[in-house]
């Protein structure tokens, strides 16, 4: 059973903290993606990676960075969390024909 696993379902962090969101896939896929989901705005692409140590900016990369040191793991980093980064974060790993999603991390920045 294919799986994309995000390390936390819920997180509460303080403004200014450095936050790490982890995503692991067991499908040996090359591509991995990070999205944030907000009401009325759908899924917006933050960053994606097409290979180990390779990354590309999506539509809304400001305030975020990523790390891909191993093929199965793709981390999203909020360098200094702000309240406008309160959101649902979804990791996805596509095959050629379908995207597999993690369960999401609901991040609240207070």
């Amino acid at each position: 059973d294919v799986k994309v696993t995000q390390s936390s379902r819920y997180l509460v962090k303080r403004t200014g903290e450095k936050v790490f969101l982890e995503c692991v896939q067991d499908m040996d896929h090359e591509n991995m993606f990070w999205y944030r989901q907000d009401p009325g705005l759908g899924l917006r692409l933050i960053y994606f990676s097409y290979d180990v140590k390779m990354k590309e900016k999506g539509d809304i990369p400001e305030g975020y960075s990523v790390s891909r040191e191993k093929k199965e793991r793709f981390s999203l980093i909020l360098e200094s969390a702000s309240t406008n980064q309160t959101s649902m974060y979804l990791c996805a790993s596509p095959s050629g024909t379908e995207a597999f999603f993690g369960q999401g991390t609901r991040l609240t920045v207070v």
Binding site: G40, G42, L45, D59, Q103
Partner: protein, 112 residues
């Protein structure tokens, strides 16, 4: 680069039909459709790979107009289980691989 979906929200009675549209400003090589139940991850419904292709999945089908860079999802004789948020996903080919952009979402509620 995010595809735009319409309508943003729709409420149906059981048995009614609905159409969800998805349009892109980019040339496409594929269109995906997903449904997300509240509190769950989006789940893949279908992919369309060729222009003009129509695919079906139970009473849910979709079409893809490559020239117009549009896709539509058709839900016929809707059931309560169809409620959720629907996303189109569009594959964009680039020199760094296949990028996936998802639409703004359509909230569909089916009521008895």
């Amino acid at each position: 680069q995010q595809p735009v979906q319409s309508p943003q929200a729709v409420i149906l009675r059981e048995g009614e039909d609905a159409v969800i549209n998805c349009s892109s400003s980019k040339a496409l090589y594929s269109v995906h459709w997903y449904r997300q139940k509240h509190g769950e991850a989006p789940v893949f419904l279908m992919i369309l790979l060729k222009g003009g292709e129509q695919k079906g999945h139970e009473k849910i089908s979709a079409s893809f107009n490559e020239k117009k860079q549009q896709s539509s999802l058709y839900l016929t004789a809707s059931q309560l289980s169809y409620s959720g948020t629907y996303f189109c996903g569009q594959g964009v080919n680039s020199n760094t691989g296949n990028q996936f952009y998802f639409g703004t979402g359509t909230s569909l509620t089916v009521i008895p």
